[in-house]
Subunit: 364 residues, 4 copies
Amino acid sequence: MSSVFNRGIKLSLFGESHGKGIGVVLDGLPAGEPVDFDEINAFMARRAPKKDGTSTMRNEKDSAEILSGIYENKTTGTPLAAVIYNSDQHSGDYGNIAHIARPAHADYTGFLRYKGANDPRGGGHFSGRITAPLCFAGAVCEQILKRRGITVGAHIYSVKNVKDTPFDPVNVTANQLEFVKSRPFPTLSENAETEMRELINSARTAQDSVGGIVECAAVGFPAGIGSPMLDGLENVISGLVFAIPAVKGIEFGNGFSCAELFGSENNDEFAVQNGKIVTKTNNHGGILGGISSGMPIIFRVAFKPTPSISRPQNSVDFKTMTEQELIIKGRHDPCVVPRAVPCVEAALNIALLSAMLENSNLEG
Amino acid sequence: MSSVFNRGIKLSLFGESHGKGIGVVLDGLPAGEPVDFDEINAFMARRAPKKDGTSTMRNEKDSAEILSGIYENKTTGTPLAAVIYNSDQHSGDYGNIAHIARPAHADYTGFLRYKGANDPRGGGHFSGRITAPLCFAGAVCEQILKRRGITVGAHIYSVKNVKDTPFDPVNVTANQLEFVKSRPFPTLSENAETEMRELINSARTAQDSVGGIVECAAVGFPAGIGSPMLDGLENVISGLVFAIPAVKGIEFGNGFSCAELFGSENNDEFAVQNGKIVTKTNNHGGILGGISSGMPIIFRVAFKPTPSISRPQNSVDFKTMTEQELIIKGRHDPCVVPRAVPCVEAALNIALLSAMLENSNLEG
Amino acid sequence: MSSVFNRGIKLSLFGESHGKGIGVVLDGLPAGEPVDFDEINAFMARRAPKKDGTSTMRNEKDSAEILSGIYENKTTGTPLAAVIYNSDQHSGDYGNIAHIARPAHADYTGFLRYKGANDPRGGGHFSGRITAPLCFAGAVCEQILKRRGITVGAHIYSVKNVKDTPFDPVNVTANQLEFVKSRPFPTLSENAETEMRELINSARTAQDSVGGIVECAAVGFPAGIGSPMLDGLENVISGLVFAIPAVKGIEFGNGFSCAELFGSENNDEFAVQNGKIVTKTNNHGGILGGISSGMPIIFRVAFKPTPSISRPQNSVDFKTMTEQELIIKGRHDPCVVPRAVPCVEAALNIALLSAMLENSNLEG
Amino acid sequence: MSSVFNRGIKLSLFGESHGKGIGVVLDGLPAGEPVDFDEINAFMARRAPKKDGTSTMRNEKDSAEILSGIYENKTTGTPLAAVIYNSDQHSGDYGNIAHIARPAHADYTGFLRYKGANDPRGGGHFSGRITAPLCFAGAVCEQILKRRGITVGAHIYSVKNVKDTPFDPVNVTANQLEFVKSRPFPTLSENAETEMRELINSARTAQDSVGGIVECAAVGFPAGIGSPMLDGLENVISGLVFAIPAVKGIEFGNGFSCAELFGSENNDEFAVQNGKIVTKTNNHGGILGGISSGMPIIFRVAFKPTPSISRPQNSVDFKTMTEQELIIKGRHDPCVVPRAVPCVEAALNIALLSAMLENSNLEG
């Protein structure tokens, strides 16, 4: 019914693409945590549109204004509210398609759900722009996790048929995650970057778009966090990841490919290494029975091609119930995947901090 | 922290494999809904172990006793509690492996999470057996949905590399879903059944196990149900599906394969058919922006091979921190997929009824 | 919509007065906590009907059967389910009043809410009997709190115009709370007991009933637990206390009488005592800004007279919409207050443990 | 852990008294509801400080800026975010008392709860100022309820020992509620106003403060809304009312006075009036078994005297653990009750709309 995540961390996301502002209230944060705004801005800049041809030309500042919850650069422990004002609004671009459902968009379903009263400009509350406050929330959580030795990072696993070097599920390191996050186009392989950029450019030129996959990992996350059944880490992570528009699937560890294996191939044997229990392989992706095993947490998320393409498409005016040809104007990413990378990280940062806060300790 | 699902439908699952009983409290159900217990038992029988070599020999009756919430064969609207007593408990089979972590099981993570206090017999609360009350809850919801013209059904999409005929995402019908549910081994193709059975048998003979994929669909579900962002149908469905042990991934519509498409290939164009808005293709799987489109809802779920295999495996005694060889005795399914089919349906039935209840209507 | 409490502790209450059984699923409990069943039974016996003329003659055993969540007499940390089977059911007593609304009961409102489908026998889910599983849950939490030096206790503050000696809000001790809990009729003053018993007996003789007030306290509860605004201790405690049928009001500290004071009279000045911050008076009842102050937590709860009285009453048959005279047969307490005492304690035990679990500690 | 209300209506309150802004995210609202901002401002003006000597001189505009959720003056159905910027901040007034606990305030408990990191200026998140966004939310809900024939209103029931004419629990009308809301000092009796004003003025002159009671009612609320046990209307209403600082107690219907009655006096007999079931008296306050009866909903809320008084008080510096005399400077209401009236209404408006939204209708 809502845009509320209500667990160890409480998240209330709000905003419409062309309204006054978008933002988030983030509650349940531990008190007294230093907040570095340069790091937050750097995190959010990774989601912001690029001028390199891979994304929309919309000039968003996306700088979050803090309304509450931070005092003397530390979390107060009470609700942290942040707003990003919408300044660069070209509503006119959308006027002519208001009632013609853009294929693969939520225009029609949103119209039904909200009886025609939702804000249609730029996708309204369905806009990918609402991932900006999600990234803000994730950036705050990231700093709290990092202080406890936990690093989250993601990369572009694939764009269409071009694949990056995958993370090594056993040996991925915090340094590697930091490295890939520092790259303007977050791949591990420079060759992959080149090929992917070409692919995205050619899609753009062809008035088309492409999909891809983001791979995300966390290292340093302690073993024993999470719960079985309905409160497992997979449940919580996927519950947040599907909040990112254009996500069509999620898989943990070796994911769908485990369905083609024998148990003797898929089972990760346990061993003792430096006095610590590990698994020799990490097909399980760091989660067993909903609970962290101490191995790197790894999952992949499939993104569909950007629905907005400039080619003429057949569609329906859902007010008049007539079939119409649709031409979408305006600014659109030919591929959402590069900008989706920090969004997936944000979801994981929030999920992990939330799970740690839920594993409370009466003696603590 | 818990086994609670708290939305339009409230679900509180409980139980351990070798405790007194397992069960569920199901709250938020509409009042006055007739409940057919033969249908419930038939639903649960599909999850029960088979005597055809594809599953464990454990002789579970799995008949749920109703403690509350049903009066004169109708829901009262107050909490419905159901218990399945554990009668056939062979705890002795598990004694010798209590502290040696079974690979791909939650023995070690559960031990950490619960400080060694959780019930270790037969996996305790982590046992696949806890899907029996999930199926009970799903079977109750199924009847309420069916009365409103909504049919949910699933089939074995694949076992290892053997694939069944997939559902047609546009034209799948209620009849087809009912047909496949009526089959003892739920595939659309008889050839697929034969091959899959052979594969499972050969895995069993080889003291091994195999994974696979379940495909699930709903037809007749009204358009306009669900919400954007954190309360989307995908969020809710995946939050329930990951409660089923052994699930490693979920994808909606064309899922991960959309990541390899152009937008022009992936976008589902709208059309008017018999006065109703439809899409010509259904790559989106019946959900746009978290909200149902009126097209069939389709998703696939990847199951790993059964972790329990009889072959010797290397592992660690997590109490003594020593490496040990492990031999798992007892009864185990060589493939969980056939019995997982109704579990996935149960998750969808619960999710859909829950979403409908949340789309409340002040005028209603 | 439901009977679910979903906080640090998760509670799912179920059952109808004359159904198969009533019970509770209690989730979020810390793992490895010893559970003493004699103490639980003793707690529940305080709620059970007495044979001393103060309560109904219904012969309830009210012994809870544990279905899950306890292993080797300790909490497993996974959901604890307990059932109390209904054995002594005299449904016949209620047959003739099924559709004539008993004044001050929920017959009519329940009929509307559940469209006539709720179980009408003995009040169904509205029965005071559902406080038995609440007491079970409270008794489990009580043991966990006690182990940490926290004691909860309540007494009969008043029956009609007869008052017991109130708790001293500053100096009430754990011993005093244990003492009053050990008394068959929980008052501090023996004179008050004598007068109250006479009052209750005379009400019974007059085919009437009487109301009263329960006062409840906790000592040893650490300072700094709870949250401002919507998650304050008062919010959580009152949210649980109003689950007890017949409660009409709740007040913390000096409660309604503070409305007649000057600030200079009501403010509790702080002082240092034995190196600890205390207040010299305790008008605030141990809670400031929703958070515990370290002083005893004190509140009072008003109970209305038992609605069921044997005198003829005027009412309405809500099926035929005709006015009718009603004569209630069956067994009824002339005063619910003595049996309500452990129910109020149960609510506080659950609320306090829940709040402690929510004050989680990342470093813990 | 937080300031989140998560039911049919979802509320996320945020802000600190001297931070950038305070506000609320309000989710779950029905779509397409017209919003009249003049009415909202009028509602909030009733909470704003008065220049008549009854309240602080702080010059707050308290005009809410809408960030999202309203489009063309109607609710979009997606989250409505509103901010009130803090402009008139005199932080300097509070500097010298930062670590000396103000009696009856949350300075000390907040310091413990948030490990000294919370914003201490003007009470921070504990400030009564956070009721401004609560009033905003209540004002939005009020308009949606009014459109369905439901009117909520409150008056000053008492200030210290001076009492207003109470509402007639059976015959209170929408007109009477509207009348009392329109009065600058909301009493039914003009004499009561005069006496109360004198009392408040004399308290102010004496550098003191006084407490009082607010009585609140709703008429036109349909019968059959709410649920038994943990989700009763009393549970939900009290869960919201205790979010208002200074509340020490709540009672429904005849409240604590029912504890002094016989059942034969307290029971409300049913009757048929104009083809509708009513009760002849309304001691139950419109709620039976947690569910509305169709009679006026009535309750009273006790407010303690404003904790901030200018007289010297004894207290403790909780950083140095030394006893100190405290003199509170700054602006303070000698009585919070007049400004609390719309806050209590706001809580009821939110609770009632939320409950209606939870009583969803599958057929709706």
